[in-house]
Symmetry: C2
Subunit: 472 residues, 2 copies
């Protein structure tokens, strides 16, 4: 079992002051945090499945759902050339992350016979050029649309729904409803009611599962299953990580140690930036998914007791080795304001040998006979070493390989780490009150009839617009 | 002329303290910087075309080159189904940014007859799974490879060259050299010599043009022209922005004002993060290009006089409206540590009406009859307003439309702004010494025979590897 499903590992050696010439974190600082860390772990465990911690139980309570998803996925595969997710935020980032991680890097470009499922498109913006561009290459009669929104009030997603349902009625006619699958709340909100009225196939986003913690519920599992991904493996991986994080000892619980180190880095060492740096193209979107999780969960202005805090590392992503040629200069010589988290893959699924050649040019010839696996591993090692020598905190999450199980582990690891970090900061990691002002102001601009929008409209009109002297 | 080629504008109203409830920048602070800013502008003007400022003259000195590029592009279009850039850093980010900005959002997925050129692939990593994935969908006999490296010593690019040239010899045989175009230094380095020996068509990266400032030389112009982009328009736009930035008065030179405000934000107000936030899918990769330019140019540990500085905002990108559902919570409630730069498009190239529907659901029905242009504009306005109300510095670069001319303006604007910022910080914005340590360490790991690598190998072996107690 251990061999069949290797566990991902966390190496924090390069976070520690003893390896960074005195910069970085002293193990004593972690020890001092031990009781707070234990309390954080206990609090998360105590709340499992309750409130907004519904996501903790997703690896265990979805047997029936998984079976239904697999049936629906088989039907979609048999009938449609394209599977289009209409969703935004977690509803989009999770499906993209898992798809890129576990399918062919040019999945959509493969001929249909070489793909385990239809082409996947994730439409998470309302750029006016975007829907038309999609329709140019993926016509509605060949497409199944997966509309994902818990509330059914997400303006972007519901505007897409209006466009697509209108097109389907016109172009497909009778039976157009079979081109739509809804993923939404079981009882509340617009979409579940629309789905009932129209008779759309519907999957439920369980109670207590917020958007950014939803990848392991139907939000993520349905698109993954449609594209042939082993969703039972994802859930088994998540369960394995859960089991690996039951210890209250910060030195024996990887997600807890990761949270404690980030807490110290951010609150004591002014590392207000967290760089997620996968050394694998397949994990590129996993970094985007992490960036939402970390930013929206931890970027909060008050503690749960109402004290002002303005917490939150800014997550940013880069890609190894690519961004060594873009960001590494800054990381090694710029301010001491960041932590770099490498995602390292030990065994890639393909190998790329480098042939011999260019014998007259030593710098080129020396590469011949090596492989891209060796090259990328050497560059990661070189970069981690350079950061360490420059006194820059960095840690490495090691994936023995990239498969459904390790990806499930990674998702759950980051979710747990985020929950622990919320406890350490004493903030609510599961709300997002800071986006409300923007939403109300946007609706006010659009002329929404509601009273609060009218009031906001008035307030905005009283605010001076762009001042001429400040526009060049 | 003014109407035909509208100029992009910079609106910094929301950077100013008077609009941010006291946070943000006081105009007096800009005035105090006026003489330093004037000196920066004068210094950049004085060095035009000299040293590493060769890029300033690219809008003016490439008539012959442009004609040759257009001829070569026509030949490529006539013969190849795929154009594959082998390059990394600026050699990859620029071509991707311009392609996404100016061609169809699903360009590669269009049928050949609807595309102005071959499919474009930009291979900027050495993930062992990546080249194989590309070859699965774009076989060598249908592909032209554009190998871009000034030195010809870029390990990633030259390893790709070894792989591709070997494949071409095996699969194409005689005439394989016509599948390769080299873009490199005129006289120095491996690639120009290899190109001469093999007889590859070759374009020159001019002296004084570093990788991240190379988009307007053949590095960027050739891929763009191959894909049917108006490269003369790009250069004309760059020239127009150059002309708009000749004033030494910080209040009358948009790139200079932008640099001065970032200088104050970073050095006086601790805004060590710069978020580039386009509200347009087409400008998504432009944000990546900017992130390299800003990070690698300004992330420096010493001034030109040798004083320790550790300068450099960390640039990060987001996408509007998508990342309102990912990052906005952090931007409005988190630390006061960032500046947000919106890229706003006034007129999109397509419109997407939202049909009426869902009459029973007020929050959805209210969207009917509007357009995605209205929705995205309202959300940008709402987000800028929310940031302003929360006291968060933000500025907006307004593109009247996205075309070759405005994209040329934007590229040159950012380049000038970066050069001015380098002057204000008194750093060398055109070198990248901080990546050397990583490169040497990587080559050491790979067993490069050179003496400095052997020495580094020894040094690394003496450094304790991952410590067991820090690996969970």
């Amino acid at each position: 079992m251990q061999d069949q499903y290797p566990r991902i590992r966390l190496d924090v050696s390069n976070m520690m002051a003893e390896n960074l010439g005195g910069r970085g974190i002293n193990p004593n600082a972690v020890d001092r945090l031990a009781s707070m860390a234990a309390a954080a772990q206990t609090a998360v465990q105590a709340q499992r499945g309750a409130g907004w911690l519904g996501w903790t139980e997703l690896p265990y309570n979805q047997d029936d759902v998984v079976a239904r998803i697999e049936e629906a996925a088989a039907r979609v595969r048999a009938r449609f050339a394209n599977f289009v997710v209409l969703g935004i935020g977690g509803s989009a980032l999770g499906p993209q992350a898992v798809q890129l991680a576990l399918n062919h890097l040019h999945y959509n470009d493969l001929p249909a016979a070489k793909r385990p499922g239809p082409r996947l498109f994730v439409e998470d913006n309302i750029d006016p050029e975007r829907m038309g561009a999609l329709l140019d290459i993926a016509p509605p009669h060949e497409s199944c649309y997966c509309v994902i929104t818990k509330s059914g009030a997400t303006a972007e997603t519901m505007s897409q729904y209006l466009i697509i349902s209108d097109l389907l009625k016109a172009q497909v006619g009778e039976g157009w409803q079979r081109h739509i699958i809804a993923v939404t709340d079981a009882a509340h909100g617009n979409l579940v009611q629309i789905a009932r009225t129209e008779g759309f196939e519907t999957f439920v986003i369980p109670d207590g599962v917020g958007g950014r913690f939803s990848e392991l519920c139907p939000v993520g599992l349905l698109p993954a299953a449609v594209c042939g991904i082993d969703i039972r493996g994802l859930l088994a991986g998540a369960a394995a990580m859960d089991a690996a994080c039951h210890d209250v000892d910060v030195w024996r619980n990887p997600a807890l140690l990761a949270a404690a180190l980030q807490y110290i880095a951010a609150q004591e060492l002014r590392a207000n930036i967290h760089v997620m740096l996968p050394y694998a193209d397949s994990l590129r979107c996993m970094a985007d998914w992490f960036c939402q999780l970390w930013a929206e969960s931890l970027g909060k202005n008050i503690t749960r007791r109402g004290a002002v805090i303005h917490a939150g590392q800014t997550p940013t992503k880069a890609l190894g080795v690519t961004d060594q040629h873009s960001q590494l200069q800054l990381y090694t010589e710029g301010p001491f304001d960041k932590v770099v988290t490498f995602l390292k893959v030990e065994n890639f699924r393909r190998e790329q040998p480098i042939p011999h050649g260019c014998a007259d040019f030593a710098d080129v010839a020396f590469l011949g006979g090596k492989t891209h696996s060796q090259l990328i591993a050497a560059e990661l090692a070189g970069t981690a070493y350079a950061l360490r020598r420059a006194g820059r905190m960095n840690q490495t999450i090691i994936l023995p390989r990239v498969d459904a199980h390790t990806v499930g582990q990674l998702l759950y690891f980051f979710e747990l780490c985020t929950a622990y970090m919320g406890e350490l900061l004493d903030i609510d990691a599961f709300n997002q009150p800071g986006v409300e002002e923007s939403k109300i102001a946007s609706f006010a601009v659009l002329g929404h009839p509601g009273e609060k929008y009218a009031k906001k409209r008035q307030e905005m009109q009283q605010t001076p617009a762009a001042q001429a002297r400040y526009v060049l």
